[in-house]
Symmetry: C2
Subunit: 73 residues, 2 copies
């Protein structure tokens, strides 16, 4: 699978581990819920700023988020 | 410093470790040299696709590139 798809899966996994719904998490990082849904579905070529915002909201750092995404290969 | 700036420094460090000039590296990943220069100067909110292209061209993965960027904090 490609990194965009794997990153979406990793974000979803981190979010679920925090017990947060998509709605609650999107609200917490001031991101549109439907945009977050498309990110988790691997449909967005995210910008660095949005990757950083998501990682911070998940209480992790960007390298950890990508290490998880790369682990699915 | 912010992640965008640190990522630029990390990219430059990885590139220098490979002994590649900006010009040669930009050519090798089919990226405009002046765009790469602005990336290394921390002036670009890179997309995931470009981050991946740069990491691949540096023979590393995205998580390692960000781990290096985060190490400057």
């Amino acid at each position: 699978m490609n990194l965009q798809t794997n990153l979406g899966i990793a974000i979803k996994e981190f979010r679920n581990n925090l017990g947060l719904s998509q709605e609650k998490f999107a609200l917490s990082i001031e991101m549109d819920r439907t945009y977050l849904a498309s990110v988790e579905a691997g449909k967005r070529n995210l910008s660095l700023a949005n990757i950083e915002k998501i990682a911070r909201g998940l209480n992790t750092n960007v390298s950890e988020l990508f290490a998880k995404a790369e682990s699915y290969n």
